[in-house]
Amino acid sequence: MIVKAVRAVLLALVALFFLFPIFWVLLMSVMTNQDILRSPPSLIFEPTLENYVALISGQLDTSVGTLEVAYMRNLMNSLILGVGSVLLSLLLGVPAAYAFARFRFRLGENIAFTLLSFRFAPPLLVLLPLLFYFQQLGLYDTYFGLIWVYQLITLPLILWIVRGYFEDISEDIEHAYRLDGHSWLATFLRIAIPLARPGIAAAALLAFIFAWNNFIFALILGSSDVQPVTVGALAFITASGINYGQIAAALVLSVVPTLILALFAQRYLVEGLSLGAVKG
């Protein structure tokens, strides 16, 4: 009984710490800037949807005219970059993770480490040379070029997390399938991948989040046409003031796609592998 109570109290504290700021941002997104900038802060305000209206319609009415807000475009860019990089990383990383998990081969660990080590390089280190080469190669300001660079973020993550999950699948299950007369490829596709799916889902979601949250690559390697939400949200900070309400609304909108993805992946995320029962 006491254990249960302690557990409940701890969970409540955890929820408070992690969710209160989100809740507050949600409130701010329906406040005017004047309501937000009140001292002391107050919960008494008239909710407004004008922040969202401005973001979604792309029209921001100010005293000096109507300004264009490119936030929806930023959102689309983020989606293209996030989905594109994660898909490419899965395509490249899942087979590689499988190779590292299942085979011991010459240089195998070296290749695995090299791939991980691309994550060691601070982005700033390669950024300026990268920009130079991108311009030479015509990759500047292209989704293709950015998705390639994003592999530095997403690929090592997917590779190493998925590798761990592959290693936890009983080899016997795959052997059994091979012995049934199925080719190596069929075994990989119909046994290994379905069984590692929770791990792949978790890794893909995390990689997507990291890609989504990046902004230095797109900022330097692209024009404003390809900028993601992370850069877009900063546009509400101008010399004439920070529009916190719009940033909050932008933040809420930027979380929505990831949240949908997380809910979609939730079945796998919270499921774990559950292979214990057949592992022997």
């Binding site: 557990r7 701890l10 969970l11 955890v14 929820a15 992690f18 700021p21 989100i22 941002v25 937000i36 900038l37 009140r38 001292s39 002391p40 490249l92 087979p95 590689a96 499988y98 190779a99 590292f100 081969f105 660990e109 290749i111 791939l115 994550r119 060691f120 390089a121 601070p122 982005p123 700033l124 280190l125 300026l128 990268l130 130079f132 080469y133 690929l155 997390i161 761990g164 290693e167 190596w184 979601l205 989040i209 949250n213 902004f215 992370t230 949200a233 900063l234 900070i237 940033i247 930027s254 979380v255 949240l259 997380a262 809910l263 919270v270 774990g272 592998l273 292979l275 214990g276 029962a277």
Partner: protein, 308 residues
């Protein structure tokens, strides 16, 4: 008993080419696609050995290790090293403990826990740069809800990121808020993936909970903890967004971590050579630390999966 054709030569068993090739066919595409990054990396290494300030194009010159030597002679550099390592240690340590604790709280599958485990990812979904902006507002002495709540419980004028005494605490707090969910996700999945038998056996034998945790759960979870810790460490030692948005490395030099040092050198001071040297040192440290973790990880894996 054994009917062998003795005249038959003993064949030397050889593995087919396909067998030998397969792991390379699987792993090399990812390497080939990303290996290109070595080119800009090499260029950056070259920069780090140049006197290269964009504002002094005429003074550009190859100086071997000149940038590194001047770096090591600069007390600011040693401060940076110390701050970065401390920051990393605090973030990774606190977040591993907290993340593990939360994962343990949520490991039982109930409707509530399922909902919570998705909701708790929310902070991770907010870009750190923007999250920091929100935290800065929430800790603002005039409009900040957190500052206000603190006054309600009697803590007046808590300085948050603005004082050298509390700045580190504040950025670690934000970092913890943003990144603990990362650890929670991985460890929660790891916990749920553990085989059930050892636990059932321990329960039958009436083994005390603490013993089960330290002798069964923790060792079995170790590969997941190491993976989560590794990526968290890579992220933390290269932290930029949060610290820059909250304090720009201040107050004073309190939070001058590597990436801020390098960022200022490159983008504000246009000193590309020095920036590259700082980042190369950061790269080397990251490399060393990761190597340690990975060695440990591989050893665990060896032990866990045996030889055959």
């Amino acid at each position: 008993m054994v009917e062998l054709a003795q005249d038959r030569a003993l064949p030397r068993a050889r593995s087919s080419a396909r067998d030998w090739l397969l792991p390379y066919l699987l792993s090399l595409p990812s390497l080939l696609v990303t290996i290109g990054i070595l080119i800009p990396f090499g260029t950056a290494v070259y920069y780090s050995m140049e006197r290269y300030n964009l504002a002094f194009p005429a003074g550009r010159q190859f100086i071997w290790f000149g940038n590194y030597i001047s770096l090591f002679g600069d007390p600011g550099f040693w401060n940076t090293l110390q701050v970065s390592l401390l920051y990393t240690l605090l973030c990774v340590g606190i977040q591993l403990l907290l993340g593990l604790g939360i994962a343990l709280l949520l490991v039982r599958r109930t409707w509530f826990n399922d909902v919570m485990s998705v909701l708790l990812i929310l902070p991770l979904m907010v870009a750190p740069a923007i999250a920091s902006l929100m935290w800065k507002l929430m800790t603002n002495p005039s409009f900040g809800i957190l500052s206000y709540l603190l006054t309600l419980v009697g803590v007046e004028r808590f300085p948050w990121a603005s004082s050298p005494d509390t700045a580190l605490f504040t950025v670690v707090l934000v970092d913890t808020w943003v990144y603990t969910p990362f650890i929670t996700i991985l460890l929660l999945a790891g916990l749920r993936a553990l085989p059930k038998q050892p636990f059932e056996a321990a329960e039958l034998d009436g083994v005390p909970q603490s013993f089960v945790f330290f002798r069964i759960t923790l060792p079995m979870l170790m590969p997941y903890i190491l993976t989560a810790g590794l990526f968290r460490m890579l992220e933390a030692i290269q932290q930029f967004d949060i610290i820059y948005a909250m304090t720009q490395g201040g107050p004073g030099d309190t939070l001058m971590v590597f990436q801020i040092q390098a960022y200022l050198s490159a983008f504000t001071y246009t000193n590309i050579g020095r920036s590259a040297a700082v980042l190369m040192v950061l790269w080397a440290i990251t490399f060393l630390l990761s190597n340690l973790v990975i060695k440990r990880w591989l050893k665990l894996r060896e032990r866990r999966h045996g030889n055959a």
